[in-house]
Every structure is written in structure tokens, then in C-alpha cells.
């Protein structure tokens, strides 16, 4: 079980892509079971580490640690996305899906859009 991985499609829009190699679309793989403290440095192997199924809160940390190229403060704040960033799970507002607690499934498409750039 813990060796399973999830394949996800990640999209950035509204200027957020500038923080991620100026690339809007990314295909990534993350572990299905992750550390409960959202640390992305190592897979949970030891027995005494608390784990959880991968959720969006973990994904945000994973993206910061492995995909983001600059200015993390424009993406993450207080263990969630910075206010003003919209998140969609398979085209649905994450506010309807439990926000950070949404448990990711293989093949999910997660979109992050900044609303903060000029009109």
C-alpha cells in the first residue's frame, strides 16, 4: 500500500506559472501515503512516523519543495495556499471538496490560479 504512487496533473494559471519554470502544465507522481507532518523530504518508512493518505495540504508542500523555482511566499502561507489563490479539483472549487483535507486520487487534475495579477 505505502509503495503506491499517485499520478496527478497540475495546472498553474493567473501568473502562478511564473513561479514554476513558466510552465502551466505539469505531470507529477507523489506517494499515496505520506507523512502526517507534510514533510516531503523522505517517504515514511519507520514505524514510529505518523502517516496519512496524500491530501492537497501535502500536495502544496510537495509542490513547494519539488516544483517551485522562486518566491515560495507567493504560493504558500500558513500551511495552505496564499489567500487569493483559487484551487480546483477536477474543475470543482476546492471549497466544495474539503479544501486541504481532500484526499487525492490517482489521475486527479488540480488547478491553482492566482487572482492577484492586474486586471
Amino acid at each position: 500500500m505505502s509503495s503506491d504512487n499517485l499520478s496527478l496533473k497540475i495546472e498553474f494559471g493567473g501568473g502562478l506559472e511564473l513561479l514554476f519554470s513558466k510552465q502551466r502544465s505539469h505531470n507529477i507522481t507523489i506517494p499515496a501515503i505520506v507523512r502526517k507532518d507534510d514533510s516531503t523530504s523522505s517517504l515514511p518508512q519507520e514505524n514510529d512516523v505518523e502517516t496519512k493518505p496524500a491530501d492537497i495540504t501535502y500536495l502544496i508542500h510537495h509542490l513547494r519543495d519539488h516544483l517551485l523555482k522562486e518566491r515560495p511566499e507567493l504560493f504558500i502561507e500558513n500551511k495552505t495556499v496564499r489567500p487569493g489563490i483559487l484551487v480546483l479539483v477536477n474543475d470543482t472549487d476546492w471549497e466544495l471538496e474539503g479544501e486541504g483535507d481532500y484526499q487525492l486520487k490517482n489521475g486527479d487534475e488540480i488547478v491553482f490560479i492566482s487572482t492577484l495579477h492586474g486586471g
Partner: protein, 357 residues
Amino acid sequence: MAPKLCVLCETAKAMLRRPKTGQQICRDCFFYVFETEVHNTIVEAKLFKSGDSVAIGASGGKDSTVLAYVMKTLNERYKYGLELFLLSIDEGITGYRDDSLETVKRNQQQYDMPLKILSYDELYGWTMDAIVAQVGRKNNCTFCGVFRRQALDRGAAMLGVDHIVTGHNADDIAETILMNIMRGDIARLGRCTAICTQGEDTIKRSKPFKYAYEKEIVMYAYFKKLDYFSTECIYSPDAYRGHARAFLKDLEAARPSAIIDIIHSGEAFEVKEEVKATQHVQQTCQRCGYMSSNPLCKACTLLEGLERGSAESGLTERARKKLEAEGPTPENIRTIPFFNKTPSGNPGLSIAVEIPA
């Protein structure tokens, strides 16, 4: 978890939560309520009458792109009878405005609307790149803001339109209210919530998205797959607005109705007559004919400073006095073409033939 159903149609899967109401609604109901609310805003404020020519201030960004799309949709659906134009201002910022103008040019094709682009270079003889090279990155936003406002009016006059609509949304207005409170700018606080403003001789200006949340505008653009440009201005930081914005976004995260609540508070302020009395009376700029609260309008003051190599003189009293001490305005200085909007509704732009002292 079973998908939640839309609270409006009760058949389709809910796709978003409306920040204003907390309602969970589906994509089609969202399009309908978003467009209908803008329509209601327009009708209740009596913004237009049939036959009006209206320029949409288009930057290529999300707000103006959605505005152009929605204006076109509503004009057709409700038979407003408007003639719509796109009006873009090219500030002359390499790597920013040149790219966003490409988006506007695509919008012109997609929405089938005539497009007019007016550049700072054409109107003032200065691009923002050149201005920043002279003034640095401290007060450049002041120049850009003053120049853009006048350029939009002049572009509208060139198009011969009656009205300019801009994409200012509820978040922008709430931000401005907060800024005016924090700066103690009571005159602007009184004006900034108005949906429609009109100077003595200028073209009407209004904000059909006054009550539209930024979140919904972005969602609308996303679901409709609208083509918009989103890069921060390279000379950006209007630091003060940035703080107001971050603060507002934090408030919204805690309580989504905060934005509309702030607008409501702003609308409820009444500016005392004594305060109003101290405000300058509107007059016409002696040099360029544009509306002004001083003998010389702000754009002419700033331009003279640039031309005389003393950009600060348009900004601080001290620098202005220093420049005045150097002598009168040179005869051959570059000026803005004379603004001549005739009351007959046949506005035009003519060239200044003489410069009053």
C-alpha cells in the same frame, strides 16, 4: 462522498461556492447568475441608453477580458443597443504591455469589436520605460496613473464614444475604500464607491463589475476558457495598495462577505458639506483643455517636470518651487494636444496652437 448538487437547479453537480452568498452552484447556473447580476447592476444604475457608443477599457488582463465578453453577451441578450469598442492604452512598458496588447488584439478578433490603441508615446512623447529611466522606480506609478486616466478619456474622444466602462471589480473597490480611509482622503472616499462618474466635460466612466467578486471573475474566465494575460507589471509595486490587498484577502479568507460589506460601508459614508466645500472646483487646464482642479492639470504638470529634467517638480512642493525659481515655462516645451470635447457630442482631438502662459 456523493457529489453535492447545485442549490439553484438541483440537478447538476455543484462546481463552486459563491463567496458573496455561500451558495454551492453548478457551472451553468454560475454563468447565469454572474451575468444576471451584472445586468441588474447596469439596469439599476441606468448606465446606458440605446444607441450609446461604449468603449471597454481593455488591458488584456482578466477583468477587462471578462468585461468585454460579458458586455458583448448582455448587449446581445438584452438588446441594449450599444455600439461596443475596445480601447487600450499602451504605456510603453517593454515585456509587459506589449505582450498584453497581443491578448487585446486576439480579443478584438474573438469578440469582433473595433480596437483603438493609444500610446503614452503618441500622446505625451514619453513611454513608461523612458519615464522610469528618468524618475526611477519610486514615483513611476503616479505618472502612470495620471497619464492613463487622461489617455483613456482622450482615446474615448478619438473614438467618439459617450462612455467608458472599466473592469474594476468589488475587490478593487473595497481595496480603494480601505486605502482612502487609511490615508484620510475623504474627498476620494466620497467618490470611490460611485458606479458612474462624470466630470464637467469628460466622458462618462463606469464600473459594471462593481459588485462582482474577483474570485468569480477568475472562475468565469477559467470555465469559459477566456484568453487573458496575467503578468505583474515589471515596474509594479504600488506598495500601499499591495498591503491593502493582502489585508483584504486575509479578511475574505476569514469571512467571504467582507468585500461586499466594505463596499456597503463605503457607500454609507456621507461627506459633510464643509468638507466638500474645501475641495477644488473643477476647471479646465489652461494648457491642454483637460478637466483639472488647478490652472494646470496633473498630467501637464508632470509632463513639464519630465521635459525640464525635474520630474520631482510634479510631485513635491519643494521641487516645484525650485523649478519655478529657474524661470517660467519655456515657450517651445512639448505639451499634450489640446483636448476639445464639444458639448454637441462630437468630440475630437485637435492640436494645441498656442500655449497660454
